[in-house]
């Protein structure tokens, strides 16, 4: 296979010595089937062992290697070097604090994800998992299936200008995953999740830029999920305020 060369311009930040990040250039030989992650691995193995970045699966499943590649949020394992003419600029995911080099601090996202209870909350009176099964038709499965494909890679957070402007915003992936469980026929947790996703800092900070859905490497549609949450929450609100008698007793 033919060998070519590419120049990487990688953001470096060492919290122990640097006051602020700087860029470092690496000249990397590459093969036609290499992705940006291969080039970073080559840098670490052959050129500069101090370079820090996260990765695990190299096949767009684990969601660890999200970074800004020429300013666009991408999985480094899905970005082929051959698709980029000239120098490739590699930066950590935007909107997250930089821990070191390409490694970001993701505590904010992880905490928000837990707040929306992205797991099955059994309905009242449903059989416990140990004693019975919760059956579902293919149509009921399809109702939420696309939202299960989220790999928590946070590219959508890096693409969302509203998350950048309003750090309290719950953000695309967390709301899409809440929506995924709300749409599941076996789940009874919508009321609890609404406290988060129908709050001011839930779906209501979204302005439907749509960037989250455009950059999603798994073709999930968080923007669609958030608009559906807005519509459903609006119906809830008008029902509660204009037709209080339709409200279920709790």
């Amino acid at each position: 296979m033919s060998e070519r060369r590419v120049e990487l311009e990688v953001l470096r930040y060492n919290p122990e010595t640097d006051r602020e990040p700087r860029f470092q250039r690496y000249d990397v030989p590459f093969r036609d089937d290499w992705v940006v992650l291969d080039a970073l691995n080559h840098v670490k193995e052959a050129l500069d062992p101090t370079l820090s970045y996260r990765w695990s699966c190299h096949m767009a499943v684990c969601g660890s290697c999200g970074m800004m590649i020429n300013g666009e949020p991408k999985l480094a394992c899905k970005a082929f070097l051959r698709d980029y003419p000239g120098t490739i600029r590699v930066e950590p995911l935007r909107h997250f604090p930089v821990e070191r080099d390409l490694v970001t601090v993701i505590d904010d996202f992880v905490a928000k994800l837990a707040r929306v209870k992205p797991w099955l909350v059994p309905k009242e009176g449903a059989p416990a998992a140990a004693t019975g099964e919760l059956r579902q038709t293919p149509a009921q499965l399809k109702r939420y299936k696309q939202f299960t494909l989220c790999i928590n890679c946070m590219l959508c957070y890096a693409a969302c200008p509203e998350y950048g402007l309003i750090p309290q915003y719950l953000g695309p992936a967390a709301i899409a995953l809440a929506h995924r469980w709300n749409r599941d026929s076996r789940d009874g947790g919508r009321d609890a999740r609404q406290e988060e996703i129908a709050a001011k800092e839930g779906a209501w900070e979204c302005t439907f830029v749509g960037a989250c859905s455009e950059v999603c490497p798994e073709h999930v549609d968080p923007a669609g999920a958030i608009q559906q949450v807005k519509i459903e929450s609006t119906v809830d609100w008008y029902q509660a305020h204009l037709m209080p008698w339709t409200r279920k007793e709790k």
């Binding site: 988060e196 839930g202 209501w204 807005k230 929450s233 609006t234 609100w237 008008y238």
Partner: protein, 108 residues
Amino acid sequence: MARSGKPLVWGPFAAGGTLTAFLTPVLVVLTLLQPSGLAYESMQALAGHWLAKLGFAAVIGLSLWSAAHRLRITLYDLGLRADTLVAALLYAATLACTGAAIYYLLKI
């Protein structure tokens, strides 16, 4: 966190956005071309009917509301952080304009 009251302002935004998507372009074509339907007698006859008055008021009110709501968000996007003040001013202006429209409609 508590559930937000945003649906109160978002509901009319969504309704107005849909209305303007369907109606504004063709209505602008009319005010540009000024066909016979826009003559004084024909407009008086149209706006004289109570159903048309209701339609005019609804279209004007919801169009203005959706525009005001969008402007509020755009100003925030552009860096203006006084959201509560901006929202109060824009929604108040919308209600005032809609009130004026209803007043003139009733005079026709």
